[in-house]
């Protein structure tokens, strides 16, 4: 796995990117929708109809075992359990039909053409995918940043004669009456949330997924992050689906499985304002058909470019080589309901993390993501020339750290930035030579609190764009922060600092568990590459002239570290001895608001409920807060002294030799 990641950092050879909308703008939409579709399927596939697939699942030995087991445990009649299984399957299953793909293709062409100036896809990636699809069952693993990308892969694959995937979708989508059915016929199958405890549901779903993979029914698409990311930052991968997908390989039911990381990014995200509201705790509208229709206003805007980068296919067999022992199923029927061995669980988790990291590395960044980072570091606005200067320096730094930046070479840099500004007029505006964040205009006079929220929503909106680029800086930045606070620059001291920080921020950024040493190495070599660091016998050394870089990189993590500090501080208050999951966000928000009003807190990013929750999870993980189930909900119990200890350690690590607040 390290090898894959390392190869990845070294590559970045330019690829042939093209705009798939260009042809649509020239040709007729209807003939595109009616084009002859002839995909080369997986050559080992058993041709199956949708109903045959479902029958196979229903009649599987595995489900038979599980059903009898549940019947015995629950005392329910066997038949009833079986019926329930059938109805779960019915609720779940997709009904992929080419005619619906055509219909969707037609509609999507219209929508895409209106919303986006282009949809840029790497051609080589498509060619690799075409090859991969024929050889082994393929799992498409895109990130999920917007509702609009739900069918985009199907659309691309339809256009380029690749087998149409079936897609794992959340149940709420199904709830949307008409759309649910359309999606189902476009290949979506539906999964309930929080299914871990429902044995029958889990069994039906996992058998369904495995059967799709095993028979090579179609490429399978799922979001390893589980959800649409509200922060546009990668989410910690969910392992359930990943496990189901990999099991056929563990059990030797397929020769190999190919995982294809797909990185989708947007110049501008449709849901941008919604995202900020969600993060501030304004409840999100249910995903209803009506809701979507209301969003029609959204269709009037321009969203620039959508980037879809098909990453290099990853062979599960290669990953598993020397790591897992497939022979472990030799002495038991493979159809039994068994827990995965620890070895396999770790493998599943590593693979999931790896894929998220690969998604991150192939993410195409727009100039705006870099501009957003600079803007956030200058909350009171920045003068245009400084803004340009800093952005360009950041561009160089990001490129040195391996980012894929889509910066049009044929335009002047200032033109590029100005057009980004224009696209993001809702976030920032340019006035009297200054660039500032735009605050949402609201009706009438506002309370102090409302003012904070407005400001925060502008900041968080901007932050979400910056977040798309964070992974580029994470590891070097962690090394930088570790250096600024470690007792010495010896490698060991810096590394142990690094480990503490990484552990603390493990919900914030994606790190493969147990790979701290590799992450540290990577961070150091990133710093080496941009000339900010040298390594000698005694340890690390900052290169004087590049002190700035270290300072800047530390500042990248500042908003997160600050939020953690504040959450820790709040949790140390008496009122937070015990609390329920439900109360956490509103109570913490209220407490932080108080600190805002008293001027003790100034960073608006502290209001992100996402970061707050991550801080809480970190405490749970580190044993300073305990989580238990009390009557239908989770209850947290804070160990104040433990929290304080972590807080102190963190504080120690940010009271630094180098001022943290200077900027690039």
């Amino acid at each position: 796995m390290e090898r894959l990641l390392r190869e990845h950092t070294l590559k970045s050879e330019p690829e042939n990117v093209f705009d798939i909308l260009e042809e649509r703008r020239r040709g007729s939409d209807i003939s595109h929708a009616l084009r002859t579709f002839s995909a080369q399927p997986y050559r080992g596939a058993t041709p199956l109809s949708v109903s045959a697939l479902n029958r196979m699942v229903q009649e599987s030995q595995y489900l038979r075992y599980v059903i009898s087991e549940i019947a015995v445990e629950s005392g329910e009649p066997h038949e009833c359990v079986k019926e329930e299984a059938v109805s779960i399957l019915e609720e779940m299953s997709q009904n992929l039909q080419l005619s619906f793909i055509r219909l969707m293709g037609f509609a999507l062409t219209k929508v895409f053409k209106r919303l986006f100036s282009s949809i840029r896809v790497n051609e080589d990636g498509l060619a690799r995918l075409q090859q991969a699809i024929q050889e082994h069952p393929v799992i498409l693993m895109p990130n999920h940043r917007s509702y609009i990308d739900f069918l985009v892969l199907s659309y691309i694959m339809f256009t380029y004669d690749l087998s149409i995937p079936v897609i794992a979708a959340g149940i709420p989508l199904m709830g949307m009456s008409l759309i649910g059915e359309i999606l189902r016929r476009s290949g979506a199958f539906f999964i309930r949330r929080a299914i871990g405890s429902d044995k029958l549901y889990w069994a039906v779903l996992s058998e369904y997924v495995r059967t799709i993979v095993r028979t090579g029914f179609a490429p399978l698409e799922f979001y390893v992050e589980g959800l649409r990311s509200r922060t546009l930052k990668s989410l910690k991968p969910k392992l359930g689906m990943m496990q189901m997908v990999l099991e056929p390989f563990f059990k030797g039911e397929v020769y190999d499985i190919t995982l294809v990381p797909i990185s989708i990014s947007y110049d501008r995200v449709l849901e941008e304002s919604l995202l900020a509201h969600e993060l501030l705790g304004v409840p999100k509208p249910r995903e209803t058909t009506r809701g979507l229709l209301k969003a029609r206003r959204v269709l009037e805007e321009n969203y620039g470019c959508m980037h879809v980068y098909f990453g290099k296919p990853v062979s599960v067999r290669e990953l598993a080589k020397g790591r897992i022992h497939r022979g472990q199923y030799n002495l038991i029927p493979r159809d039994l309901l068994l827990k995965l061995s620890v070895e396999l669980q770790e493998f599943v988790s590593d693979v999931a993390h790896l894929l998220v990291q690969l998604q991150e590395r192939d993410l195409v960044l727009s100039p705006w993501t870099l501009m957003a980072l600079i803007l956030l570091q200058n909350p009171d606005g920045v003068e245009w020339n400084t803004f340009t200067h800093k952005t360009l320096r950041l561009r160089t730094l990001a490129a040195q750290l391996g980012a894929r930046i889509d910066w049009p070479a044929q335009l002047l840099d200032s033109e590029v930035m100005l057009s980004s500004m224009a696209l993001h007029h809702s976030v920032a505006h340019f006035e009297n030579g200054h660039v500032r964040l735009v605050e949402e205009a609201g009706p009438g006079p506002v309370t102090q609190e409302e003012a904070v929220f407005r400001r925060a929503s502008a900041v968080l909106m901007c932050a979400s764009y910056r977040n798309q680029a964070l992974h580029v800086f994470t590891r070097p930045a962690l090394v930088a922060v570790a250096m600024t606070s470690a007792p010495s620059y010896s490698k060991d001291d810096v590394f142990s600092r690094f480990c503490f920080l990484q552990d603390l921020l493990a919900n914030e950024f994606i790190f493969m568990p147990g790979h701290a040493a590799q992450d540290f190495e990577e961070g150091c070599s990133g710093l080496l590459r941009c000339g900010a660091l040298s390594i000698c016998d005694h340890g690390l050394r900052v290169i004087e002239e590049e002190q700035d870089t270290i300072v800047f990189l530390s500042a990248v993590l500042k908003p997160f570290i600050e939020t953690y500090q504040i959450v820790f501080r709040v949790l140390c208050e008496e009122t937070f001895q015990t609390f329920t999951e439900k109360r956490f966000v509103p109570d913490v928000r209220a407490a932080i608001m108080k600190l805002f009003l008293s001027g003790e807190v100034r960073s608006y990013e502290c209001l992100s409920s996402d970061t707050q929750k991550n801080a809480l999870s970190a405490l749970v993980r580190m044993g300073a807060v305990s989580k238990s189930r009390v009557a239908e909900q989770f209850e947290y119990r804070v160990n104040h002294s433990a929290v304080r200890r972590i807080w102190d350690t963190l504080d120690g690590s940010v009271t630094s030799k180098v001022p943290l607040y200077s900027r690039l």
């Binding site: 058993t46 020769y255 493979r334």
Partner: protein
């Protein structure tokens, strides 16, 4: 009177059977080469003056390839394949489609030849390292022996690819220093005694058909190595018609045993594909399996009594009770011992009256999955015919390539199928369909009933009866396929077969994964043309099946083809084990698969085997180093 007709009836059907099964033996040349054994052991022999294996095997068999010297494939001037000699049904025939198949499958070219060294370069053979006293005392005891280089080289190998490949290139490694030919049990006792006394290493040699490097001399062996060739211990000592058993010397080879028993109206029914050359002792020593095990059983089911000479003395049971509860069955230490514990000298085997009626058959399935499902069902209903084998599509196509120019029964699978194809097999994709071949045996009425039952099951899995000829041909080809490897080796193509046994639910997965692994490994190792990677299910059991793989590739452009070959085979075996397959169903472990023994039988299991070895042979007289 009645019994008379019975006998002649039996003899007639015996003869018919001979024609069919061992039917490849068209004309059997009487072998004049009589043994020069100094002393005849006293034993009652059933009268038979048929050919036996000569001491100088190289005079009838190839020294660097498979089978009889007079029988081989070659491409004639017109580029057509021919099979020489008169022994087999294919002998003297032209096989016009073989060239296209060969070139198409392997990317081989008749212009690119890799001929073998024509004859053994005797000067390249290392001089024997003899233990003089041992040799003297052996001579005094009247045991036939030889230090002739040809005799020694002939017994230095089995039929693994690397062994034959080296011989073709004229490379000779460590070989036995001496060959001895005991002619009876007592001779063996003497040999073993003397070996112990003079610290000489003994390697039993039966038919020499081993495919596990079992016969290879350990290069690190410093003692004198003596090959104990059992071929002259080849008599049927008695036949017990009341209990239907026969007591036989262990050196007898399969075809002689069957022919001689047939003459009395009996058979053992044990027919490994190597039965033309492999010996009874070899079967016992490797736990062999015969094609018709469904009726007659594998060697462990057939054996009633075994006598083995070990450095500790002779081991045997005191009676011939059909089953005993007397602790662990000591036969099971002997069976599969691969020459590491002693020499098997005499065996009492079950015999059966020659069956009245035999019928071949074949079934075409739309694909391999359906075929496997059918075999599984047949096994479940416990109605497997004497033999049932399922070939995958590649082998089905290969069958086509072996179609001779003129011959009624040899109409190709495809041709034979064509007329069905139009009427019946519509919808069968010739690139997916596969064939099962069947052999039924027994009394006529039962066979016909049985046949119906099997075809009815097949129909449930989309299988259609495809005629007797296709079936019969499939079985007869078995005997000539072994000769094909030599042809391949003349043109840069090397190959081998290997086998495993596996639970039913894993059969398909194992077949697919192993075949795929072979293809991928070849590619990764620079093999330029996709290999032939094919399999068949050759035996069915209650709880699983035996699967047999063929694997061959064109090695042009590779500097060390054998190494590549071995790496791929190694990977394929790893794949088998990862897919719940066994280390071996019948070929044995030898030295080739030794590295996996511990994981196969556990450390404790290995320790058990070691302690038996330590007790029976503390000085490692039987030093072929197989198994452990």
């Amino acid at each position: 009177m009645a019994s008379n007709t019975d006998v002649s009836e039996r003899q007639r059907s015996a003869q018919q059977r001979l024609r069919i099964i061992a039917g490849h033996l068209q004309k059997r040349e009487e072998n004049e080469h009589t043994a020069l054994s100094a002393q005849e052991c006293k034993a009652e022999t059933s009268k038979s003056n048929a050919a036996k294996v000569p001491k100088r095997r190289q005079e009838v068999m190839k020294w660097n390839g498979w089978g009889y010297s007079d029988s081989r494939f070659f491409f004639n001037k017109k580029g057509q394949a021919e099979f020489t000699g008169k022994r087999y049904r294919l002998s003297g025939l032209i096989l016009p489609s073989l060239k296209d198949w060969f070139e198409g499958t392997f990317g081989a070219n008749l212009q690119h030849k890799t001929p073998a060294t024509a004859s053994l370069n005797v000067s390249a053979v290392p001089p024997p390292n003899l233990n003089e006293v041992f040799v003297e005392e052996l001579k005094a005891a009247g045991v036939a022996l030889s230090t002739d280089p040809e005799d020694r080289v002939f017994r230095s190998h089995g039929h693994c690819l690397h062994e034959i490949f080296a011989l073709r290139e004229g490379r000779i490694g460590r070989i036995p220093d001496l060959v001895v030919w005991p002619s009876c049990h007592d001779d063996v006792v003497k040999i073993v005694e003397l070996a112990c006394k003079h610290s000489v290493c003994l390697i039993p040699y039966g038919g020499g058909t081993s495919v596990s490097s079992a016969l290879e001399c350990p290069p690190e062996e410093t003692r004198s190595i003596v090959s104990v060739d059992t071929s002259q211990m080849n008599r049927i000592l008695w036949i017990d018609e009341k209990n239907l058993t026969a007591h036989v010397e262990a050196g007898i080879i399969g075809q002689d045993l069957e022919r001689q028993l047939n003459e009395s109206g009996y058979c053992t029914g044990h027919e490994p594909d190597s039965m033309e050359f492999s010996s009874l002792g070899g079967w016992v020593a490797t736990r062999a399996s015969g094609m018709k095990k469904n009726i007659y059983g594998n060697i462990e089911d057939l054996v009633v009594h075994i006598k083995m000479v070990t450095p500790r003395g002779v081991i045997e049971k005191s009676c011939q009770g059909p089953r005993m509860s007397t602790g662990p069955d000591i036969h099971h230490f002997i069976m599969g011992s691969e020459g590491t514990l002693g020499v098997v000298t005499e065996v009492t085997m079950k015999i059966r009256p020659v069956p009245e009626y035999q019928k071949y058959g074949s079934i075409v399935f739309p694909n391999f999955q359906q075929g496997v499902a059918c075999l599984r069902e047949v096994a479940k209903q416990r109605c497997a015919p004497a033999s049932i084998r399922l070939m995958d599509n590649e082998q089905f196509q290969f069958g086509h390539a072996l179609k001779p120019q003129v011959s009624s029964i040899f109409t190709s699978f495809l041709d034979g199928l064509k007329k069905f194809y139009i009427t019946k097999f519509k919808g069968f994709d010739p690139h997916h369909l596969c064939v099962a071949t069947l052999l039924f045996e027994g009394d006529r009425e039962k066979v016909l009933q049985h046949e119906k039952q099997v075809y009815d099951i097949a129909a449930k899995f989309g299988g259609l009866a495809a005629g007797e000829d296709n079936g019969q041909r499939g079985y007869m080809l078995t005997f000539v396929i072994a000769y094909l490897r030599d042809l391949g080796m003349d043109y840069y193509v090397i190959g081998e077969s290997f086998e495993t046994s596996v639970p039913w639910d894993r059969v398909l997965d194992l077949c697919r994964n192993v075949k795929e692994r072979i293809v991928r490994e070849c590619k990764e190792r620079g093999v330029q043309f996709p290999p032939l990677s094919t399999c068949r299910v050759t035996q069915t059991y209650d709880a699983g099946a035996c699967v047999y793989f063929y694997f061959a590739f064109n090695y042009r452009g590779l500097s060390d083809p054998i190494h590549v070959y071995e790496q791929v085979e190694h990977a394929a075996r790893e794949e088998i084990l990862a897919n719940a397959g066994s280390l071996s169903h019948h070929h044995g472990v030898g030295k080739l698969r030794k590295e996996w023994m511990r994981e196969t039988v556990s450390s404790v299991g290995l320790g058990m085997l070691k302690s038996v070895k330590d007790y029976l042979d503390p000085n490692n007289i039987f030093g072929n180093r197989n198994l452990l």
